[in-house]
């Protein structure tokens, strides 16, 4: 059974605008995916593509306007089965409360480990899981570094023994050396606790390191999904190629930019949403919406020109 299964997930936001009636933002527009138990799916894309909206829908901070989410086969809200780790640990924790309080809260809310001694023991255990010692318990977020604080939010997410963690840009606010520590912690916890991850990130190198599978998102839709190693080694969709080429690396010139800007999600372009910026676009791309369809090596691709042999990178 899959850890997470999303079917035709949609989120449309209605925004009020004076004349001409309300407008609709198509933040997520028909996205389906599956995360097999014990695996990590990375959803990558640039700001505004809808990836964080998916994260929020998965943990039901936002209700989808269409589609279904199954967590370990079950429909409906189960906050113990799936938990969120957000990007910014400073805003995720109450500045005025101790770290002990942050870790006790989920236990109290869900009625877990009743009794003072049992609860205290569980809090210490949680802290140990993320490699912090008890000295942190009485400190407040203000006196703790960003990397340690992000460990605390991971520990808090683990308090209710979830099977799935949704990691929304977990390392984006951290320094290089601290980032490495958190990546190692996530690898280790997944192994030890048999977790599944949905990793939302714009940091390609982090996705590449952690993910088993990857989904590339552009303007509310997936354009390419598949086994991470295959997609990263030989991207097929023109957008995936542009995105991966833009990752700066030593000894490489900055990539040739894509023409134009990301179109508005209020009025997404007809046909393939990438056609306005695509170097390979044909007239047909503006008319027909390409379906996400399987290609030879098991990946799914939404491109009218998918059948053509991939050009060498």
């Amino acid at each position: 059974m899959s850890a997470v299964r999303a079917e035709d997930l949609r989120k449309h936001y209605r925004i009020r605008s004076g004349r001409g009636g309300d407008r609709v933002v198509h933040a997520v527009d028909g996205v389906s995916f599956e995360v097999p138990a014990g695996r990590t799916l990375a959803i990558i894309g640039e700001s505004g593509c809808g990836k964080s909206t998916i994260a929020r829908m998965l943990v039901r901070l936002t209700e989808p306007t269409g589609g279904r989410i199954l967590v370990h086969g079950r429909d409906g809200v189960d906050r113990r089965a799936i938990q969120l780790v957000s990007q910014n640990p400073w805003s995720a924790l109450n500045r005025r409360k101790s770290i002990r309080h942050a870790l006790e809260q989920p236990l109290a809310v869900h009625g877990l480990h009743p009794g003072r001694a049992a609860r205290a023991a569980r809090v210490r255990e949680l802290l140990g899981l993320v490699g912090l010692d008890e000295a942190y318990l009485d400190r407040r977020p203000g006196g703790v570094s960003g990397g340690e604080l992000q460990r605390v939010t991971v520990a808090r997410a683990l308090a209710v023994e979830p099977k799935v963690l949704v990691l929304d840009e977990p390392t984006a606010s951290l320094d290089v050396s601290v980032k490495a520590l958190l990546v190692n912690l996530l690898l280790d916890l997944k192994q030890r606790l048999g977790l599944s991850y949905v990793l939302i990130t714009h940091e390609i190198d982090i996705a590449r390191h952690l993910a088993d599978d990857v989904a590339v998102m552009y303007l509310g839709r997936f354009v390419e999904t598949g086994e991470a190693e295959r997609v990263f080694d030989a991207p097929r969709h023109p957008y995936t190629r542009a995105l991966l080429a833009a990752v700066p690396a030593p000894g490489r010139e900055p990539a040739e930019p894509l023409p134009g800007e990301v179109p508005s999600a209020v009025a997404p372009p007809p046909g393939c949403r990438f056609h306005t910026r695509c170097p390979l676009a044909l007239d047909a791309c503006a008319r027909a919406v390409p379906a996400l369809e399987p290609v030879a090596d098991g990946r799914l691709l939404a491109c009218l020109r998918a059948d053509e042999p991939p050009s060498p990178r």
Partner: protein, 352 residues
């Protein structure tokens, strides 16, 4: 920007000031060419400290480097390493509770630390441009973008001047949208507008860029980096480019300086720094990048934290260093020349 009140009085806080200032503030705007071969910017033993309730906290210490015309120096370091403080010190725009406590900064023959505020003001914008980290918060949200461009740039109403300026940063398409407000533009567009102001409007000799692409998406970032490189080639602009992103810095820099706890621990040509890093901190940083490991393997992290390192005697990296020896805790290493690198490490010459 230039209108911000300035309270730093460096004249009185520079203990080793070298005699009276002979150039005077008037020479600042004259743009006298430097003698052949001399650097555009020369920083010597610069130190900056913050006054806090717990006394003076050093933020930058013993930083020295030269920058030639048309050269791009990348400064890389983690948060708290002092790289942004360095930049604001060069602009003499430090916050009220911070001051340059020693050292010299010479820009095209003018000693900046000895310059009066009105002389400094003449340099800012005109000869030293700044690109900020967040384009959105550097513009007034309540004023049309076109009007803000006019605040900073003279002669914009002349025929074709505005068109030329915007085309220079690849923004020809927004020419008819300049009555719009900042929120109607994307982050990449705003950053390119600010680059147009800083680099093309006044044609400065030196551009200081503080994490200019950190808030941008990867594809937009590539566009801005290409633009900066092109401006350098076209106008011979020199640049100090501050970032925490090792990938970005490798793509834009001629030379790279690595900062740790307020000190410049290594400076080397970009290729040499990545191929043969000499300082243990540089090595550790490069090894912590995910790209260098196989998928799913643990990354090599740096143990410990940087906290308090700028107050320690000896080498600030000693508590976290894999190659530490007793001497490192007692004696701060002098700068050594090893290969193409200038390194502050007692063991820099050893082949490890």
């Amino acid at each position: 920007m230039a209108a911000a009140p300035e309270t730093t009085v460096p004249e009185t806080t520079v203990p080793d000031s070298t005699g009276p200032d002979t150039t005077g503030p008037e020479a600042a705007g004259a743009g006298a060419p430097a003698p052949g071969g001399s650097p555009l910017l020369s920083v010597r033993d610069l130190a900056v400290a913050f006054r806090t309730r717990d006394g003076e906290v050093p933020a930058v210490r013993e930083v020295s480097f030269d920058l030639a015309r048309g050269e791009i120096l990348g400064l890389v370091g983690e948060s708290g390493s002092g790289k942004s403080t360095m930049l604001t010190a060069l602009m003499r725009m430090l916050p009220r509770n911070a001051a340059i406590t020693s050292g010299r900064v010479s820009f095209d023959g003018v000693e900046l630390t000895a310059l009066r505020e009105n002389g400094m003001r003449r340099l800012r914008g005109d000869r030293i441009g700044l690109i900020p980290q967040r384009p959105m918060t550097s513009l007034s949200p309540a004023t049309p973008v076109g009007r803000q461009l006019r605040w900073h740039l003279d002669g914009l109403d002349e025929d074709g001047r505005l068109r030329e300026l915007l085309a220079g940063v690849g923004l020809g398409a927004v020419l008819d949208r300049l009555d719009g407000y900042p929120f109607e533009f994307s982050g990449g567009q705003l950053q390119r507008l600010l680059i147009a102001v800083a680099a093309l409007g006044k044609r400065p000799d030196l551009l200081l860029a503080d994490e200019p692409t950190t808030t941008l998406d990867a594809t937009v970032q590539a566009q801005v980096l290409r633009l900066l490189l092109e401006l350098r080639d076209r106008m011979g602009l020199a640049m100090v480019f501050v970032t925490h992103d090792l990938g970005v810095i490798s793509q834009v820099s001629d030379r790279i300086g690595v900062m740790y706890a307020g000190r410049l621990v290594e400076i080397a040509p970009a290729g040499a720094l990545f191929d043969a890093p000499r300082h243990p901190y540089t090595r550790a940083l490069l090894e912590a990048i995910p790209g260098r490991r196989r998928r799913g393997e643990p990354l090599k992290a740096i143990p410990g934290t940087v906290a308090g390192a700028n107050r320690l005697p000896g080498c600030p990296f000693a508590p976290r260093c894999a190659a530490v020896v007793d001497r490192c805790h007692e004696e701060n290493p002098e700068v050594r020349e090893v290969g193409e690198s200038l390194v502050r490490c007692h063991r820099a010459e050893e082949d490890r």
